[in-house]
Subunit: 788 residues, 2 copies
């Protein structure tokens, strides 16, 4: 085949590649002598060699070639580096483009800056060895592996002009999330959304093993990619000149194809159908251009190239080998006397916002606040506490519908969920949009359309990855999920929390919209599913995060849920977890009371007891079902102990329980002690595992007074009330707890216990006989206290 690049182009792209490889090796190894202007000695080499060379030359190759393409086609492109260890490559690229120096002026574009650049890498108080939030142009750290492609699709949604080049390592490709993410093309509308260009980089090895996708036949690999809905192009080789030619030609073909797809789909009369998107399979040696052999072992092209191919510099031979290796990039041809990249090479990079490292999409740069309707307009009209039932999430659905509607012009809000939006009763949103879906429709299919803004795939991980990519490129969203199954994304949420923490320490990073979770179909109402669907532990995970990131809300009713979601959609840089039921439940606060209650995050519900000033006992609750059981217990206690003085406290914002020095939402000790008293027993009915309350409280003076009821891992396919019973969170148990703990009721304890056991027996017999709850439970209704 004739050459695609002319000699000058070939030399240019190769020089650019050599420059970036040189900078990458320098980062991994050198603390001094960055331009090798004197013979390399042990003193120039870092004492601790920490980094990963293996994936680096491949990333650099792709980046350099994309630069050529960006200039030629004036592309608006973003680079997602799946192989997370590729920090040295991406830092090198951003440095070559000048963006690094713009973000970190002390890392100048000269010999002095080079030395800083090298030294800081994987150096204490320097920079991470991964493509972290410190790296300009990055929205993806990749330290954990598996999320690159979902992030790339999230970035491409609603950015019609954007091309997201996503390098997928062949190790990463074995992970579950990545394997599921390929099908994201069924949810990307070529008319409305941008393009994702997956680049599967086969370098053959993981840490210590060959990779699956590099070992299967090209026939199988090609079929696999076609089966995922892509048209794979293959480039393979270990001769740089030939690979440059093949890669340039192939990427050119791919870009033309992407543009054709977009042009056709964006014609006025175009019928929406999923195109066969092109993708690239690039097969090059692991640690390409690095040492071929070390101590007699082959390194280049093997798993031995994964981290630092040369490591034992007590051997002078290794010092020489490193020098030879670095010199092989001919730094003198790349950098001038001052250590600046020579202008002819620098000119091969795009400029301004066309640089992938300076693309505003990668810095949440286009974020604009959501246009939020007044949430109070969607309120349940409540004449008095407990006057009616409502489905909290269904009410919320009407608000979300109008959030969707009111931000249609901006195209910057989407709802995500694993096939559960309707099940979670948010289906009012379908009045104004559909679920994104590019496949053919059948007669009975409803609420599906290519340009839908509700994103449903039966993978919590892909949903989460899409949402993260969407948020990190400056947009807004909310993920609703069955409470138990959100644990599937625990590790992704950990990584996002780490990103947020690191990004907050990077001065040039702009805020991004918070990661919002609505967890519903929760532990207490899994009538259809039982034990496998019962787990309230995600909030424990989030409570371990930095207090400037983690927020947990347990709105007790629909109006509080509206207030909380409204607040979360306006917030920035948090992880907000909201837990709320979808079933018809009693409503407690009118919208004004709800607003006040949620602003404080905790409150005394004076209306629940006629004299709560000098209480005998405090009954606290957090979560909708615990609130119901607590109030039902209050009505029981009125009958059992008419003169008992009870104070009811409801907690919406769990973090108020921590002291102020532990969490910014923490209630000052004085207020906390006023609310809970310093000496009265507190019976706390909690949505989740009781231990979470104890750990939040342990620095409070009165923590020994707290007796917490919550989920104790007793799940079953049973009635809602029986779920409370088998976990000892039910009204009868709570009432007994009170009587057992108020000293002056000591004499009544035996009677109370007898009454409790007899009630439990009655409950169980009725349940087994009728398969549903006692009429007095099913028909229970709140009655206000009688004022003396």
């Amino acid at each position: 085949m004739s050459d695609f690049l002319n000699a000058e182009q070939l030399e240019g792209v190769d020089a650019y590649w050599r420059a970036s490889n040189y900078l990458a090796v320098g980062q991994i190894y050198l603390k001094d002598n960055p331009l090798l202007r004197e013979p390399l000695t042990l003193a120039h080499i870092k004492p601790r060699l920490l980094g990963h060379w293996g994936t680096t030359p491949g990333l650099n190759l792709i980046y350099a070639h994309l630069n050529r393409l960006i200039i030629q086609y004036d592309l608006n492109a973003l680079f997602v580096a799946g192989p997370g260890h590729g920090g040295p490559a991406l830092v090198a690229q951003t440095y070559l483009e000048g963006t690094y120096t713009e973000c970190y002026p002390s890392v100048e574009r000269n010999a002095n800056g080079l030395q800083r650049l090298f030294r800081q890498f994987s150096w204490p108080y320097g920079i991470s060895s991964h493509v972290s939030a410190q790296v300009p142009g990055s929205i993806h750290e990749g330290g954990e592996l598996g999320y690159s492609l979902a992030h790339a699709y999230g970035a491409a949604f609603d950015n019609p002009d954007l091309i997201v080049a996503c390098v997928i390592g062949d190790g990463e490709a074995e992970t579950g999330t990545l394997a599921a993410s390929w099908h994201s093309n069924k949810f990307l509308d070529p008319a409305r959304d941008g393009a994702v260009l997956p680049i599967l980089h086969l370098n053959g090895y993981k840490i210590a093993n060959p990779t699956i996708l590099s070992c299967i036949s090209e026939e199988e690999l090609s079929a696999l990619m076609y089966g995922y809905g892509y048209d794979p192009y293959f480039v393979e080789g270990d001769d740089p000149a030939q690979v440059h030619q093949d890669l340039a030609r192939t990427l050119d073909t791919i870009i033309v194809k992407i543009r054709d797809i977009q042009r056709l789909s964006r014609q006025p009369a175009a019928t929406a159908q999923r195109p066969l998107w092109p993708m690239l399979v690039l097969r090059t040696p692991k640690g390409w251009t690095g040492p071929k052999f070390v101590d007699g072992h082959r390194v280049e092209g093997t798993w031995r190239a994964h981290q630092v191919p040369l490591a034992d510099f007590q051997q002078p031979l290794h010092v020489r080998q490193l020098e030879d290796w670095m010199s092989s990039y001919r730094p003198d041809e790349l950098f001038d006397d001052n250590g600046a990249l020579i202008p002819e090479i620098a000119a091969l990079a795009p400029t301004g916002h066309r640089r992938m490292s300076a693309n505003p999409h990668a810095n949440g740069g286009l974020v604009q606040p959501l246009n939020l309707p007044r949430f109070t307009d969607y309120a349940v009209a409540l004449s008095a506490p407990g006057a009616m039932r409502a489905e909290a999430t269904r009410i919320l659905g009407t608000f979300l519908r109008d959030v969707m509607k009111d931000n249609r012009q901006s195209n910057n809000f989407r709802l995500f969920g694993p096939d559960e939006t309707a099940s979670n009763r948010l289906d009012a949103v379908y009045e104004v949009t559909a679920k994104a879906w590019m496949e053919p429709l059948h007669t009975e299919d409803i609420n599906l359309a290519p340009d839908g803004r509700v994103m449903e795939i039966l993978s919590e991980q892909v949903c989460e990855g899409w949402l993260e990519g969407y948020l990190l490129t400056g947009r807004h969203g909310l993920l609703s999920c069955y409470e138990a199954f959100i644990h599937i994304v625990d590790s992704m949420v950990n990584q996002h929390a780490k990103w947020l923490k690191t990004a907050a320490e990077v001065p040039w990073r702009k805020p991004v919209a918070s990661l919002n979770f609505l967890l519903t179909s929760h532990v207490w109402r899994q009538d259809h599913n039982g034990f496998s669907h019962q787990d309230p532990g995600f909030i424990d995970l989030v409570a371990n995060k930095k207090s400037d990131i983690a927020r947990i809300y347990l709105p007790p009713d629909a109006n509080c849920l509206l207030s909380v979601v409204n607040h979360c959609l306006k917030s920035r840089d948090y992880i907000n977890v909201i837990v709320a039921g979808k079933q018809p439940e009693w409503q407690w606060l009118d919208i004004n009371a709800a607003l006040r209650h949620c602003q404080t995050g905790i409150g005394r519900w004076e209306w629940a007891c006629h004299n709560d000033e000098q209480p005998d006992v405090v009954m606290a609750c957090a979560g909708d079902v615990p609130t119901l059981e607590t109030l039902a217990a209050v009505t029981l206690l009125r009958g059992y102990v008419p003169d008992l003085r009870v104070r009811v406290i409801n907690v919406v914002d769990l973090m108020v329980l921590q002291p102020g020095w532990q969490h910014p939402h923490g209630l000052p000790d004085r207020h906390f002690d006023d609310l809970f008293t310093l000496d009265k027993p507190v019976i706390f009915a909690f949505h989740g595992y009781p231990a979470l309350i104890h750990r939040l409280l342990y620095k409070r003076a009165s923590h020994d007074n707290f007796h917490v009821r919550g989920f104790k891992e007793e799940g079953a396919t049973t009635t809602p009330f029986d779920m409370a019973v088998i976990n000892n969170l039910d009204r009868y148990q709570l009432a007994l707890d009170v009587i057992e703990r108020v000293p002056r009721l000591h004499a009544q304890v035996p009677t109370a216990r007898a009454r409790y056991w007899s009630m439990m027996e009655k409950h169980k017999l009725y349940l087994i006989e009728h398969g549903e709850d006692l009429p007095e439970v099913l028909n229970w209704q709140w009655t206000p206290p009688v004022v003396d």
Copy 2:
């Protein structure tokens, strides 16, 4: 094509299918009148309709056809039902086979038993709506979705005679774990292992959406399966007679092919290569044979068939529709006057252990204890505490090597890990086995072989799924993983914990080997990777599990690690989490001391302080790095406050901290108070998040005395000692903590603080300048206390 089944066979399999569908519908709907011997009325119908019809007829169809095949070929087969909602189908099948009655004698094979069978389903104190541990023959609940194929492969490993039929729902197929699990065929040796027959059941819909795999073209789907390494066979239709013929013919072809593969690969001279395994794609309508229309809406073949197609029985028409539906199966032809399955139909099921519901593999039935070498033989020979350094996991590797070797005859032990076995320094096992790998090898590939017993794929989820399947079929294993990334399987571990809890309540379920995790490359030693690899929170998740299931161990050195792993490998029905470092660290206990220490789970280290009887302060530690820092602080304090009386307590078994009534390992209060005193400050250096210690301790009388240091989410690419510093777990901080908290040292606090800050400054400057730790830290060595 000519008929495959003759008329009698066709009628037989169809009758069997009708019988099972009838029983499934009955379970979902009826509490009485099980044989419809009187006209159906509202009184016969359950008040709460909880279950899932959609997937049920497909599961029944497959099961019935597999029965035919089992008899014809005398197959040893296991059935894994991926569509977890398929409880009614699997319960029906096990009832038809008689196994259900053998396990639950009160559910007789007559009208009375039928009524019990129907009534108990999704009924309080009855059975779960999923394929739970209550169902004979099941090793897979499927409530969460995604793990069926990995479980199936885990069951097939080392069971050469077994065929695991794994039904994969098209909803489940969208999950990450399932998508990654297809490649398990690269790790299954047809000569040594059994066969997995994946059956992708396309019924078109999830809860509320079409499924991806049902919507893409057959060309793409076929390519996808071929790309995953399978030879797909397609059966499709909605005419029962035709589908019966096609399915029977196709399954027959597939079984012959599987047997051919096995025969060829098991010939003496066979060269090991991955065969192209057959798999089945079955496309039938969702809710097939159910109501075609309800209230004017199409139901059969749509998402509306997902749960209960008929639900509003206040409409008499719906009662009639249900009666018509159930009668359409012609129950009078299926059950005799007593309500027993008529013998001609019953005879179509296999008998004894050939029944999939009675296959001993599905009940851990073949479990035999591991043949464990004496772990004391692998001990580090230690002349005195702190006399030498060793890599704990490397020592463990030699023990695991011999566990592997000594159980080779039984073929019942494997090691699992996501490409990290060597990185985690367990590579001694490669002296006796290799990593399983069916692909072609390259020159530099080492330790790879088709019959390897180390299972490495870069997916924590697939590793976990394999191991669970392996354990639940009666074998043993251990999964080693970077500590941070084990969160990827949080949700799978939740589900396994639920399985263990439920199984323990099922009288006929036999114990299985514990699920053992070795978490290494832990938070404190991520020099190469930094923040993205730093998270010690998995133990928080496990601590939320039932106390009869969860065990957490933090061995402080190599000998303790040996003792703990030895114990865990012998245990049953637990989830054991062991956290231990892989780096060279100081060793503390000789093997006898380690054995005693680990048996108690906690202990005073009298050798660390010369007078710890009446301490001024207790210094407690859990985890290898916290232990090191604590002992270093002890040596510092000797210099600062020569007359200070310190007691050092090391915790190996975290659960001893809980009271005995909360956890069986909980230390009696008296012992606990003796150890920690009731009035002295306790400085606790902890491996993980400090809150975990507080929640374990909160019921202890002295809990207010505890001051816990641990990971506070401050991660970085830095030195090991600096990781301790930035999280305030370092020796200087711990020493300062002591001085600040011992009342009689009050006057020394200002000096101590000044000394601390000056040391921190010195540390930081040295670190930034040299990139490594202060010589006094690097070269620190334990010195025993001088006895007066």
